[in-house]
């Protein structure tokens, strides 16, 4: 008796050119949101092949700002990847965010040059001031605090990035002022 191959084995065969199982039904779009069409476009461009997972997750993040469980479930089902594997990939890479970003983002570089110039003190202050850990967003959704590894401006260390705006030779005072300005209602 020939056992039925699991879903992703079928998908693997298909990406190798075995077209017999190509007519598997794909999941419907999670909502009427037009952005799902963009996500679907990326998958179609890659022929719904399994190795389009990271590329597709990038598209989701660009379109929605973060990856929620529905998005991961949809992408995994479309590419016939086990949901746990897709979730593993999404949590492995720091670039993927699983929670919606805050209105403002404060990124502090913890690369080597910034670190020896006191970036850790900056991060410690920001964490204390906002009451959250690096990688989290304040409960009111105002500020996301992120740690980054080297932004390529080591000569300006320590570097902090406030909403895309790079601040060189950051000091605790400057950081404090910026965070206070954002935290005001």
């Amino acid at each position: 008796m020939k056992r039925t191959a699991p879903m992703w084995v079928i998908a693997e065969n298909r990406s190798r050119g075995d077209r017999t199982m190509a007519t598997l039904t794909r999941p419907p779009l999670p909502s009427a949101d037009k952005r799902w069409m963009i996500v679907q476009g990326t998958m179609r461009k890659h022929g719904y092949s399994r190795n389009a997972l990271i590329e597709t997750l990038h598209t989701v993040q660009q379109s929605f700002g973060f990856l929620d469980k529905d998005a991961i479930r949809f992408v995994a089902a479309s590419l016939q990847i086990p949901p746990s594997q897709a979730y593993g990939v999404a949590t492995f890479y720091h670039l993927f965010q699983l929670r919606p970003p805050g209105r403002h983002t404060c990124q502090i570089c913890l690369g080597t040059a910034c670190y020896i110039n006191g970036a850790e003190r900056l991060m410690g202050h920001a964490e204390k001031q906002l009451g959250i850990q690096a990688g989290e967003t304040t409960p009111d959704g105002e500020v996301s605090l992120l740690s980054v590894r080297c932004v390529g401006s080591c000569s300006f260390a320590p570097v902090a990035i406030f909403d895309e705006q790079v601040h060189s030779y950051s000091k605790v005072d400057g950081l404090d002022a910026q965070l206070k300005a954002w935290m005001k209602p």
Partner: protein
């Protein structure tokens, strides 16, 4: 006409030996009755080299190599047991203990645990590295089984058996580094998993008390993964 398998000859612990070219150092060593400790390796599953306990010295290689994922090569000189390797294995074992909350006295798998028995057989008397004591959860949402992250050593046996043998791929690993955890589906409670077939293979292959059956008291938590090679053989395509 069948191609004759290439045979490689090599020296293992000072003994001249031979093995088929596709064999790993580990399987060759076991054929020659040479002891190499393993945790993540399991007969019937693929090898990933996750636990680093099977490290061996190969002459000419600059670092120690995992025996379970290194294939034998012609003229290799392999050392499986030396003071240096023994020290590395002790260290690896201690790191495994210190990483999570391995407290044998209150563990259900006490006396039926591969980690514990390895520590005994390798003569580990105490852990010199301070325990991290991370705060980890226990998932009791499944009706028959329990997942205790405190005892997990991330050997990924459960992930591999679920994917390769059961074909459900309910388990996987999330995060990276010290944050890594085994998850079911989208990091949801095990009992709410859509893909889990409740077959219990993951429980049988778990080397520690991370996965166990409910309604068992200490000492009844025996694991029997001997069904694996049989299943693998029976499921091979004709």
């Amino acid at each position: 006409m069948t191609a004759t398998p290439a045979v490689k000859t090599f020296v293992i612990d000072g003994v001249d030996a031979s093995a088929r070219s596709e064999q790993t150092i580990l399987s060759a060593a076991r054929e020659h009755n040479i002891f190499i400790p393993t945790l993540c390796h399991l007969e019937g599953l693929s090898d990933v080299g996750a636990c680093r306990l099977c490290l061996v010295e190969v002459k000419g290689a600059r670092r120690l190599l995992p025996a379970c994922t290194t294939r034998v090569e012609e003229g290799m000189e392999i050392t499986c047991n030396s003071p240096r390797i023994a020290a590395y294995r002790q260290m690896t074992l201690q790191l495994l203990f210190a990483e999570r909350n391995h407290v044998c006295a209150v563990c259900l798998a006490n006396r039926h645990c591969e980690l514990q028995s390895l520590a005994t057989s390798l003569g580990m008397t105490h852990v010199e590295i301070p325990y991290r004591f991370p705060s980890l959860s226990v998932d009791i949402s499944h009706e028959r089984f329990t997942l205790d992250h405190n005892r997990c050593i991330l050997c990924t046996r459960c992930i591999r058996v679920c994917s390769e043998i059961e074909g459900a791929h309910t388990w996987d690993l999330m995060g990276r580094g010290i944050q890594s955890r085994v998850i079911t589906d989208l990091d949801q409670p095990w009992g709410e998993s859509d893909t889990c077939t409740s077959c219990g293979k993951c429980v049988q292959v778990c080397p520690t008390g991370a996965l166990f059956q409910k309604n068992r008291t200490g000492g009844q938590c025996c694991k029997d993964p001997s069904f694996l090679p049989y299943l693998r053989t029976m499921r091979e395509e004709p």
